[in-house]
């Protein structure tokens, strides 16, 4: 792979987690919903139906744009992308073309310890299509359309062709997923298809700066690992062709996870003419000063910044910091626990170690209860038995009255004797250990 440079750009579709769809008031469907039960005239594209844009979705898209350091187009509009497909109810997809809500951004990642900046070309808002299933009903081969997904809000993120390896792609996508979760735009759950990934791959000779004269798009991949594998596979395939003096065919391929390889889907693809034009049914969208200000403020400290702060300011190991910053809930729990632990002088490293090593389920406890657990478990100092015995002998000798009381049945005097022992052994804090030894020696 040394003799060629890999050039990869990514297209990522993110399904937003809004309550309702992009252009109608249908609830966004779950995978459990029966086909075509989450539909209305608008998302079915019935005659006469008109779209009403979902403001929440637009704001989520702007937030993703802001988090990816994009320029926000404050005066934007929707456009129609015209093409025919059976799952496309209206014969066009309402999308954005000329003025995406966000463009010209970047995301910094770290790959094998080295920093890397990946340019973000655009972040735009669009709607999902229906879903085709090809099956057999009563012995007849049929294609079925489920329009539940039709009109679900999607944000499309397109990167510059800055990615040079499968590994870089994977790191980028992992970071992007964290950001999307942090801004609260989507659960970004790969298993539920919330993120659909399309790498565009080609190879060029080292030193070349212009884009190769071909590219291969691998469509609809649903896991970061498969993206990485698909890139590796394509690198090898392209190299073999290029070595023979051939140019790989410009085409669309798919990832076959069972065969562990990409397969050709559509070759010699004609350049699509989507005949974009401004969607006349939706007035232009203006992002006001107030809105932009509110959305900027709504973006929390993102995972990278948080990781850095946990390392630099709190002295956590990079490993711990990264784990605790992966999602905003865990990060928030950590920060709250840190606050709750302050009066007890429990430091960040102790909390971090506890959260990670003991695999604390943050949904089943509160930060303050968690701190109590730490106090009860972690900070107990085990005193050497002989040292403890010596200390207790001393205490018993000095407090004959207490010993007498205890033997007379006033067992509550034990507390006093524990306290006296702790005075002799300032480090001893394992009350249970002291109590057990005292009881033993008082027998």
């Amino acid at each position: 792979m040394n003799d060629y440079e890999t050039v990869v750009g990514l297209e990522i579709h993110v399904e937003l987690s809004t309550i309702t769809k992009m252009f109608c008031s249908c609830k966004t469907p779950t995978l459990q919903d029966k086909p075509n039960t989450r539909t209305c005239p608008v998302c079915l594209g019935l005659p006469g139906a008109l779209p009403i844009p979902n403001l929440q979705a637009i704001e989520d898209c702007v937030k993703i744009g802001l988090a990816l350091n994009c320029t926000i187009n404050r005066n934007s509009f929707f456009e129609r992308k015209n093409y025919f497909y059976p799952d496309l109810a209206k014969g066009f997809q309402t999308s954005q073309f000329l003025l995406p809500f966000g463009e010209k951004g970047y995301l910094d990642i770290t790959v094998n310890g080295s920093p890397k900046r990946v340019g973000i070309t655009r972040v735009h808002m669009e709607e999902d299509t229906g879903k085709l299933t090809h099956s057999s009903v009563n012995g007849r081969e049929v294609s079925l359309i489920d329009f539940n997904r039709s009109g679900v809000p999607l944000v499309e993120i397109v990167t510059e062709p800055d990615i040079r390896s499968g590994e870089e792609a994977k790191v980028f996508l992992t970071e992007l997923q964290k950001i999307i979760r942090y801004v609260g735009a989507s659960d970004a759950d790969m298993e539920k298809g919330h993120m659909r990934l399309e790498p565009n791959i080609s190879l060029r000779n080292p030193g070349e700066t212009s884009l190769p004269n071909y590219k291969v798009e691998v469509k609809n991949i649903n896991s970061f690992r498969f993206v990485e594998k698909a890139i590796h596979y394509e690198q090898k395939r392209h190299k073999e062709l290029l070595d023979k003096g051939e140019t790989p065919t410009q085409e669309t391929r798919g990832w076959n996870e069972f065969k562990n390889r990409t397969v050709s889907q559509r070759s010699k693809e004609e350049a699509h003419d989507y005949r974009y034009f401004p969607e006349p049914d939706i007035p232009p969208v203006t992002i006001s000063d107030e809105q932009l200000d509110r959305l900027s403020k709504a973006i929390p400290e993102l995972s990278q910044a948080k990781t850095k702060r946990l390392i630099d300011d709190l002295g956590l190991t990079p490993y711990n910091a990264e784990i605790l910053s992966r999602d905003s809930e865990t990060a928030q729990f950590f920060e709250d626990a840190l606050e709750a632990g302050k009066p007890e002088n429990i430091n960040a490293t102790t909390i971090a170690n506890f959260m990670i090593n003991k695999k604390i389920d943050i949904k089943k406890t509160t930060p303050s209860n968690f701190i109590k657990t730490i106090i009860n478990q972690s900070s107990l100092v085990k005193i050497d038995q002989s040292v403890l015995e010596a200390a207790i002998s001393k205490v018993l000798k000095e407090n004959p009255d207490a010993v007498k009381s205890y033997k007379d049945g006033k067992t509550q005097i034990l507390g006093f004797l524990i306290g006296q022992t702790k005075k002799v052994l300032p480090d001893a804090n394992d009350t249970d250990q002291i109590r057990n030894k005292l009881q033993e020696m008082l027998q």
Partner: protein, 467 residues
């Protein structure tokens, strides 16, 4: 009973005075439709049983609204739940909608009773009605002549007394032209005033939802019902108006009425010229000041319109792919195919800038023309069509000639301002000729004021065709 002359106001008064019952009125309309429709072909679907049933129910029910018991016809571009809606196109010949659009819902909630669905040029593409896949609608004033399009059945239903009022859509003149050719009042409201939800889209940025009536007062009454946001059409504006009859009866003193010189300088037939000049004298006699104004980009109107409109049409008709409902695309008529091809071409990459983008820029200039004109005048007036109705077949094979008949109507659709067509006279061979009043955005009240004053002076609504 003779219902052919009844206006909405007459019917409501008649109900109040118990001159007749709702069932009698609706029954008489159905009878008249059954008698005349085989000749005139104004209705595609007659909703007889439902109309008679609703009439009976309305008699028992409390007063629903200002249109309680008023029968009306619906252009077949408006979706009606459970009642076949064809767009006058073969493709949707058997299409039964699952929902009813906003305008019809509002009218029915105000008590109006649908008599059925009216004929028009398929997909509202046309100026004569001849593009319908359900046959020509004849002009009752002379059956050899076209009634104007695209809302051919709506104009004919109202002038022939087949319904008290009728709904229409106006994308480039589709209400005003047939109103002008049938001696009826046709309103094209401001874009963004009446919801388009549930009306089959032709060209989304131009489509205006309006209606045909015998009188201006009736027109205002209907707009009071249909206007206003519904939460389903994102292009609607909130307005504070609700009583569009408010200025009706007010005189025209101190009003400045502009005549766009580009509209009248050339190309008008003698008949139209004569009727229009007489109309100007009438307006002057009513106290208005007539002044000449200029709309410098009028000439570009048709060119701009015939780029933007087919572009949007080509996209809006894409859903009729024969997969889920209706017939397949081979059933599109010639005119629809022509517009799909024109629009697909003008939106294609490499041509977009030269056609669509340029047209949108000129559209902005046309809007500005109107804004400028309305700084000097209150309303504008012009003929609706350069000629009276023409004979069937005369322009049917010459699409360009047909397109040019919209020369005086398309520009206000591009500008988004309202227009009210009112009867103004007759040609030498007794065919109706109308004029249109045009005002600034959301100036419908003013148009009704002017239209009503003109109509009360001319009383042309009293004239009826001999069928």
């Amino acid at each position: 009973m003779d219902i052919s002359k009844l206006t909405i106001v007459d019917i409501i008064d008649g109900y109040k005075e118990k001159k007749f019952s709702i069932s009698e009125v609706v029954g008489s309309y159905i009878e008249r439709i059954e008698k005349l429709n085989p000749t005139l072909n104004a209705f595609i679907t007659i909703d007889k049983d439902s109309a008679l049933r609703k009439a009976k129910e309305s008699e028992k029910k409390d007063f629903k609204g200002v249109l309680h018991g008023v029968p009306f016809g619906i252009k077949d571009m408006f979706l009606t739940k459970g009642v076949r809606t064809t767009a006058a196109a073969k493709i949707l010949e058997d299409y039964i909608p699952q929902y009813t659009g906003t305008a019809i819902t509002k009218l029915e909630e105000a008590g109006a009773i649908s008599l059925g669905k009216l004929n028009h040029d398929a997909w509202a593409h046309g100026s004569s009605g001849e593009n319908s896949d359900f046959g020509n609608t004849l002009n009752p004033w002379n059956k050899d002549y076209i009634p104007g399009g695209s809302s051919s059945g709506s104009g004919v239903a109202v002038t022939a007394g087949l319904s008290t009022f009728a709904t229409g859509t106006d994308t480039g003149g589709s209400i005003r032209l047939p109103a002008s050719f049938t001696n009826t009042v046709g309103l094209k409201p401001t874009y963004g005033l009446v919801s388009r939800y549930g009306v089959i889209s032709m060209a989304s940025s131009l489509d205006s939802i309006g209606h045909f009536t015998k009188t201006v007062k009736d027109s205002a009454r209907i707009l009071s019902v249909t206007a206003g946001p519904d939460g389903k059409d994102a292009t609607l504006r909130q307005t504070l108006e609700n009583d569009y009859e408010e200025l009706i009866g007010k005189d025209l003193k101190d009003l400045k009425i502009g005549v766009p010189k580009e509209y009248v300088s050339e190309g008008l037939s003698n008949d139209v010229k004569e009727v229009f000049e007489k109309a100007l004298r009438t307006l002057e006699n009513l106290g208005a000041e007539i002044i000449e104004v200029s709309l410098p980009h009028t000439d570009e109107g048709i060119a701009v319109y015939y780029i933007i409109q087919p572009s949007e049409v080509s996209s809006n008709l894409a859903r009729y792919d024969g997969i889920r409902y209706g017939k397949d695309r081979s059933h599109f008529g010639k005119e629809a195919k022509r517009r799909i091809m024109l629009g697909t071409y003008t939106l294609s990459s490499g041509y977009y800038d030269a056609y669509y983008k340029k047209a949108m820029q000129v559209r902005t200039l046309i809007k500005k023309d109107y804004d400028d004109a309305f700084t000097k005048t209150d309303v504008l007036v012009s003929p609706v069509s350069p000629t009276p109705p023409w004979k069937f077949g005369e322009k049917a094979n010459d699409p360009l000639a047909m397109y040019l008949s919209d020369a005086l109507t398309v520009t206000i659709n591009l500008a988004g301002v309202p227009g009210l067509a009112v009867p103004a006279g007759f040609s030498t061979n007794n065919l109706p000729i109308g004029i249109q009043f045009m005002g600034p955005h959301f100036s419908e009240k003013l148009l009704f004021q002017v239209g009503h004053a003109f109509e009360q002076d001319t009383k042309l609504y009293e004239k009826e065709p001999t069928i």
